[in-house]
Structures are given as C-alpha cells and as structure tokens.
C-alpha cells in the first residue's frame, strides 16, 4: 500500500513535469501578457505546476476560451473564513483533549502501560 502511494506520487509529479515543460515554454506567453519576455521567474513556478497541474490545465483552457478577466475575480470568499475558523478551533480543541487524555502519566501516579510486546519478550 505504501509503495503504491509513493508510486502514484511519483507518477503525479512526472505528469506535472510534462505539463510544466509545455506550459512554461509555450502556454504562459499566450495567456498572460505580464509573463511575455519575463523568464527569470519561471523556474519558481515549476514546483507549483508539479503539485497542481490539473488545475493549471483547467485554468489554461479556461483563459484560452473565455479570457482572463471575469467578475468572479472580484467576489471574495468571505463567508468561508468564519466556517474555516470555527472548524479549525473545534478540531484543535478536540485533538488537544484527545492527546492530553492519552498521556500515560496524567492525571498523575498512573503506571505506564506497555502497548505492544517488545522484541525481548
């Protein structure tokens, strides 16, 4: 299972490398006038393309077809801030509680319990 995950990760990154090669040498100049004749910054984009290449392909296709400026650009995702902050706070409180309760030396004078047999037993 672990080996499969690592292999999938490698395939993902190789696909991203192929997308990066085409996008940074060919596509970038077509969709962003600020990138034309600007080459020094392009290597900085490679890690990002490797990680989110499907999104890069989608945005590239979208800009080619519909153009860059859409009104959606000016619709901030404000309401999600509250939900994200509350969800994060709940998760933190829960995980801190679980972690603190799982400590074997709390609330005090509790003998540690060996969870698995050691190699010498």
């Amino acid at each position: 299972m672990a080996a499969t995950l690592v292999l999938l990760g490698k395939i993902w990154l190789w696909a991203g490398a192929a997308v990066a090669a085409v996008f940074l040498t060919f596509g970038l100049d077509r969709i962003d006038e600020d990138a034309q004749e600007a080459y020094v910054f392009r290597p900085l984009l490679i890690p990002g393309v490797l990680m989110i290449w499907p999104l890069v392909l989608w945005r590239w296709w979208h800009i080619e077809r519909h153009g860059d400026i859409t009104m959606a650009r000016y619709s901030p995702v404000r309401s999600a801030h509250t939900a994200a902050a509350v969800a994060m706070s709940i998760a933190i409180i829960l995980v801190l509680s679980f972690g603190w309760n799982a400590r074997q030396d709390w609330p005090g004078d509790v003998a540690p319990v060996q969870m698995t047999k050691g190699s010498d037993e």
């Binding site: 900085l44 990002g48 995702v77 999600a80 994200a84 933190i92 972690g99 603190w100 030396d105």
Partner: protein
Amino acid sequence: MSVKYIPVQWNPNKWFYDGIMLVGVFVFLWVFLEIAPGVLSHERPINPQIHNARAFGACAFVMLTIILCIGPLARLDRRFLPLLYNRRHFGVMTAAVALTHANYVLGWYFAFSHIPPLEGLLSANQSYFQVAGFPFELLGLFSLICLLLLAVTSHDFWLKFLTAPVWKRIHFLIYPAYAALVGHVALGILQDQQTHMVSALFIGGPVLVCVLHLLAVVHGRVKADRIAKGHGWLAVANVAEMQEGRAKIARLPDGNRVAVFLHEGKLSAISNACAHQNGPLGEGRIVDCLVTCPWHGFQYDVRTGQSPAPFTERVPTFAVRLNGKIIEVDPTPNPPGTPVKPVPLPEAAP
C-alpha cells in the same frame, strides 16, 4: 503590482520584514539547540539528529502559530496590518523550516532499513483506530504537504492566473494544516513531554490561535458592513456620513461589496475587493486620486477603477447618484476599469 513578473518584488519594507523574520528563526534555533537543552530536560540522551529535528519542528510550529495569529489580529486592530503585509514570505520560510524538520526525521528514524524512508513513514505505524499510538507522523506529513502547496503557489503569478477567489480557497488549507499540525504535536511529542514550558507552548499557542479567530468572527459580526437597501438603485449612505478621502462600504444583494468614496467633494464607487488578494479597498485612504489597499498597497483611481500606469490592475466601478441626501449606487457593476463620472455633493456643486 503587475508589469513584468520578476522572482521577488523586493522593497525596503520586505527586506526589513524578512530580516526580522530570519533573525527570529536563527535566534529560536540557537536557543533551542545551544541554550535550552537543560531546560528541555530530555530524560534520555538524544543525538544531534533528533535534537535538530525537534528544534526545526518546534520552530515551524511557532512560526505557523504566529502566521495564524496575524490575520485575526489585523482584523481586530489595524495597528497589526503591517504584519500582514509580507505574510507570504513568512509562510515560505515556515515551509522551508518544516521541510528541514521532515528531512531530519526521515534521515534518522526511517533511514536504517531496506524500506525507502517515505514508504517506511507511510507503513511503519498503522494504528489508525486508537488515540494513544496514533500514527501522528501522517498528520505532520499532511500539514507539510499543505505548507509546501501554499509556498509554491505564493508568487503573484498564481494569484493572477488562478484568480483571487480560487487562490484564496486553496490557501484556506492553512486551517486544516494547522489543526493537523496541532494533532501531530499533541499525539506525538506531547505524549512524552515532561517540561511544562514546552507543553505550555504547544498548548497555549493553538489556544491563542482559536481565541483570536473566534474573537475576529465576533468582531466581524458586530462591525458588519451595512446592507445596501432598495430596489433598482440601492441606498448605501447619507451624504452627512461621508468624509473626504474616505469610503463607506455596503453589501450588495449578490453578497459583494461596494465602496463609495468622497474625493474632492465628489462621489465615486468601486468594488471593495482589490484585484490582488481581494483586500478591502474601502478601508484605504485616497491620496492623489488613488485609493491604496490596506493589505498590500495596490492602488486604484477611484474614478476609473484602474491602477496608475504602468500597472494594469483594474476593479469594477459602479454608477452613483444622489436621491436627496441619500447616496445610491446601481448594483450592476461596470466592467473592470470603466471610467464613471464622479457625482458632486450638493454643497460642492457649482
């Protein structure tokens, strides 16, 4: 701002910000590695590899905690806004420190086996259904992947290419990343931590982050922007409320916000969302016809919604009119960068 992309758009403020940040990182690591081993009171002697891993891990935890405090602090008190200014560099540095921590961990705990280190990390502990002994390493791995994703998409190109709303949604990963990091610590080092100072750091930091975020939520509810009222043209403010060089912000029926500015006795309205990161333009001040976004300093002419040449950013504009003493806007935005003739206030009208 835009024009041609360069790797990093340095300016004196960024040099100063990054300098302070770097000094802070080095001081933290120096104290952790050289000054405080006695305070950390490791029960068993640890080797330099583990000590380094813990130092960089603790440093990344503190950095991410500070990053997550900056946002709500800036919303609660504008004096913290300068800390928001270069937060992306802070995030990139945090990802680098976290990656160094992971490298030390993989190079020690998973280095002496026939299984490749990453496969070893993913397979060594599979006790997913218990709290004590949970594979906390995977929580750290998730957090690290999120931090790397945020770091590698931090260049301004990504903002423009993905658009601010998509970019912001990706960068919301900072919240689950931090929750996972707290889990990584709570189910990891805290299980064995005997030093109250370190425990207080690892518990107090997340609690502070939660409190600040919840306070900011409450503050946002109390200070909520006014809602534009009416049908067709919407009332946003009374002329008596307007201040020269400042704006009144109102929420439109579609959920977006309009900022109505008073400049040289005339009214102009633009989108409240900066084209850069959707910062609140209406909270900025007008200087020489240009409103400056309080988040990152992007500027726009309030009469046209355009950045001054040679910059190319644009925001939508809105038509404004006066209905007696009531200022009204047409809720349908004009295309970004559309000039709109400013409306003089009655006392300023010829």
